[in-house]
């Protein structure tokens, strides 16, 4: 049992001694560079070969061949251990142990006679001076020896450790599709709102789609329910084929009644389709571009303007529903100072004709604000407004116009009449 006492004391003190540890890693020299090749999971990609009136989608399964360059470095792990209290504990322990030892050595020099000036409660004399010195020396050594032990353990556990090891690091990585092979399975063409062609099953890695089967624009090709990867060339071919299919399904004999936004959409389809059917689309492309250019200069065709055929103020008000009140005293009149902000808005107008600029253009005055008023040539209500006459009607704000030296907001009349 006694043989276990000292090891246990050492273990207990080792646990009590605080040792601060700091570890840092230092990168050493490059030892070698090794290329490494591996094959990881790939996927399925598609290629679109568009013709007219059919397109072919080929499906290709592939794996990913990964080429890595692995660099091997030497690395040193430095661990510094410090016990900041061990020095103080050691010096204090040595001092107290020495003092205790000296007192113990000198104890025979003190008197062994008991202190007869004291008799305690148990009926005993007080301790002899030698007894007192011995007790003090033992007490000092009881404190000092463990302090020495703690200090020594701290010193033993302090120090630097260096561990060398090699570390692999991927310096570069390049993934390349490889081991391509045709794959079969269900193929679906999807538009914005759902499937736009019947589901087909690829055989021998190919599937053919006819233009007459397409019911709308194609935004994705799905294989087994998952979107297929397409390269840029295939994307363009798919877009061209789908555009041609849309145009083929809805031919336009006349552009007169087609609003401009729809004409722009059609022009985009025509341009996309030209990649596939250049000759067939050339004529339509020119016609649409010419019509749009004409509208830019002359505005929308009369037939497309709401209220254009109004024959009374009430009809015009119903067709346009004015959102501004351009009458003397209304705060809306102030908005004409910056007409761009209210361009395209309908307004109810009460004004006085101030000046006739041309047959269908006049300067009118609303309170203190002046504006050009454009009348529609040929409209049954567009005459009979002499200078000085009060007028009322429905107008559309059409920006700012400069005529001669005058720059004024433009009001395009939807319907106008003399104010009773």
């Amino acid at each position: 049992m006694k043989t276990l006492v000292w090891p246990m004391v050492v273990v207990l003190f080792a646990g009590c001694v605080r040792v601060d540890s700091e570890t840092r890693v230092e990168r050493g020299p490059l030892l070698k560079t090794v290329p490494k090749e591996s094959v990881v999971e790939g996927g399925v990609r598609g290629r679109v070969l568009a013709g007219w009136p059919e397109m072919q989608i080929s499906l290709e399964g592939f794996e990913t061949c990964r080429n890595e360059v692995v660099e091997t470095y030497e690395e040193e792990v430095l661990t510094e251990k410090r016990s900041p209290a061990s020095g103080a504990a050691l010096s204090a322990g040595i001092a107290t142990t020495l003092a205790g030892g000296v007192l113990l050595a000198l104890s025979p020099l003190f008197s062994g006679e008991p202190n007869r000036g004291v008799i305690d409660g148990a009926g005993r004399f007080g301790p002899a001076p030698r007894q007192q010195v011995t007790a003090w020396s033992i007490g000092l050594m009881v404190v000092g020896v463990p302090a020495i032990a703690a200090g020594l353990i701290g010193l033993v556990r302090s120090g630097d450790e260096v561990e060398s090891r090699t570390v692999d690091q991927v310096a570069s990585q390049r993934d390349v599709p490889c081991h391509e092979h045709p794959v079969d399975g269900p193929v679906e063409l999807w538009g914005e709102k759902g499937q736009v062609a019947p589901r087909r099953v690829a055989e021998g890695g190919r599937v053919t789609v006819k233009a007459s089967e397409l019911e709308g624009e194609v935004v994705a090709v799905k294989f087994h329910g998952r979107e297929l990867l397409l390269d840029e060339e295939s994307d363009q071919a798919l877009d061209a084929f789908a555009s041609c299919a849309v145009l083929e399904r809805a031919p336009l004999p006349s552009f007169e009644l087609v609003p401009s936004p729809k004409l722009h959409d059609r022009l985009e389809w025509v341009r996309a389709c030209r990649a596939l059917r250049a000759d067939a689309m050339a004529e339509e492309s020119k016609r649409i571009e010419a019509e749009l250019a004409k509208r830019r200069e002359q505005g929308e065709p009369q037939a497309l303007r709401p209220g254009a055929n109004a024959t009374s103020l009430a009809e015009a008000m119903e067709a346009r529903t004015p959102t501004l009140q351009l009458v003397a005293g209304s705060k809306d009149v102030g908005m004409l100072a910056a007409p761009a902000a209210v361009e395209g808005k309908s307004a109810y107008l009460e004004a006085v004709v101030e000046l006739a600029v041309a047959e269908n253009i006049a300067v009118v005055k609303v309170g203190e604000q002046r504006a050009f008023l454009f009348l529609t040539p040929g409209a049954p209500w567009s005459t009979g407004f002499p200078v000085g006459s009060p007028v009322q009607g429905v107008v559309v704000v059409a920006g700012l116009q400069t005529v001669g030296e005058r720059s004024l907001p433009v009001l395009r009349a939807v319907y106008l009449q003399r104010k009773p």
Partner: protein
Amino acid sequence: MQCTGPEVSDVELCRDVVHRLCQPALCPQVTSVLTVSQEFCETTLLTRGGCTTESFAFSAPARNRVLSCRLPLLRKGDGVEAHPACEDVAEVFDRCDDVVVFFGGTPP
């Protein structure tokens, strides 16, 4: 390891009790209960208790009983010349009739 001296003999213990009780100035309880004067207090009590001879040994009361009754007298210090407080002397007389009788007094 004990940090005390050797055990005192019965006669030394008896003399210590008498010495503490007779420290001048005498407490009134000592005068009234033990009926002794300041001048002859120590001689009278040593004689009444029989502690004048070196071979004296406690029988009734026993040594341990005397040690127990003596404890209040040490409250002011265990030095042999310490004067006990008079209320501690009164406590001894109240608690230990046999010690009062041993010293020839009349229990209160």
